[in-house]
């Protein structure tokens, strides 16, 4: 390799000076624009099927609606029931005779976050949707025998207890496309609906960006129980539902 020649002309000195400046610019650029390590695993994290999968009841319902053919729906059911791998959520698809939304189990997406889980949930819209769910004539409050805490524990792998006074007050669990990996319950307190959303803390950290407009008139309260993240959306100035969980 040849040694670089020393400048013996003002123009050469200028050129060296420019090279040094260019090098300084490049170094500053690399300092200010470092690629986050998480970029190197983006595809693995985001690829659908690599993590989350659609809840079986949602797959069934969607397929049946699209097909609109009794035979096709029956075929899909027979395909999904015996040969599908055991889902993480213990609860199976709600039967048509399910008495209330209490039997309808969220979340829309099970397991680790995947396609759709990155959408930023609009909490005000979520609140309105869930308020409507609660007001539905089909909705009744969960009783002690609904094992809501056990369902959440099974879904998110985090043990959780529900205080006895919650029995008969909480409606749900619901699922929402607005926040696909969340399980949602609601309750009426002081004449207003409060909405409680549960999801994994790790999911929230990597893949959920909550949005709540300042003029929504709603407040957001949060609680972490191990890796379980609980968020209460409420028009009240203090949380009412978080206290039920411990």
């Amino acid at each position: 390799m040849n040694e670089p020649e020393l400048p013996n002309h003002p123009h050469d000195a200028d050129a060296l000076d420019r090279d040094a400046l260019d090098s300084a610019i490049e170094q500053a650029l690399r300092r200010q624009f470092p690629v986050p390590p998480s970029v190197d695993t983006l595809a693995a994290r985001l690829r659908p099927g690599g993590g989350a999968r659609r809840a079986p009841w949602l797959v069934l319902a969607t397929a049946a609606a699209v097909a609109g053919v009794v035979g096709a729906a029956a075929w899909l059911r027979s395909e999904a029931t015996p040969s599908a791998p055991a889902p993480e959520v213990v609860e199976q698809a709600p039967s048509e005779a399910a008495p209330s939304f209490c039997r309808l189990v969220g979340p829309v997406l099970e397991g680790l976050p995947g396609l759709g889980a990155l959408q930023s949930p609009d909490l005000a819209r979520l609140y309105r949707d869930m308020d409507a769910c609660q007001e539905s004539s089909e909705s009744t409050a969960c009783g002690a025998d609904d094992d809501l805490a056990q369902r959440l524990s099974t879904t998110y792998g985090q043990s959780l207890a529900l205080r006895p006074e919650a029995a008969g007050r909480l409606h749900g669990p619901f699922g929402s496309e607005e926040w696909p990996t969340a399980t949602i319950v609601t309750a009426r307190t002081d004449g207003e609906t409060a909405v409680l959303v549960a999801d994994r803390g790790t999911t929230l950290e990597c893949c959920v960006r909550m949005r709540l407009a300042e003029d929504s008139g709603l407040q957001l309260f949060t609680l972490e129980v191990g890796d379980l993240f609980l968020a209460e959306i409420s028009p009240h100035s203090e949380p009412r539902l978080l206290a039920y969980f411990e």
């Binding site: 400046l21 260019d22 300084a24 610019i25």
Partner: protein, 186 residues
Amino acid sequence: MTPSGPRPAPRPGLSAEEFSARFQAGARVLWTLAAGLLGDPAEAEDVCQEAFLAAYARRADFEPGTDFLAWMGRFVRNVSANELRKRARRRTLRTDPVLLDQDEALGASVEPGPGPQQLDERLLAGLRELGEVPRTCFLLRTLRELSHAEIAALLSIPEGTAMSHFHRARLFLRARLDPAFHGAKP
């Protein structure tokens, strides 16, 4: 067993595995593309995630044999443009005097002062002054060492235009950083 009826035509596009592998191979370039268009590395990953999801859903539209990065670049550019539009709307609503004070403080921070930190501040200020496309050309060439042809494909511009943007950006940044550079030298 004999097949009955004509076979369906092979589906064009990419399988989930092919798409993921190609995306990952170009993820750093796509991140840099987003960072350049936004002028901010902080939100580039979010843009890449959204672009991934949008492109994944359309992966059947990809024509085999064509430039995957150029195809992905369209998604990144569209998502970035949406993000910039959102920002513009947010800016027009900004009336909080505390935030306005912060803006003034940011402006003041690029005034001359000793040290390499000032070099970085000058660089960021200079990059903000550059347009989106020249800034992106400069970042892709300097950080990812792409050819002008590759940059042109990513941005859907002629190769000569990509080259011109890069050189103009370099001259501009040299002029902006030269005083700070000489001030920082021992």
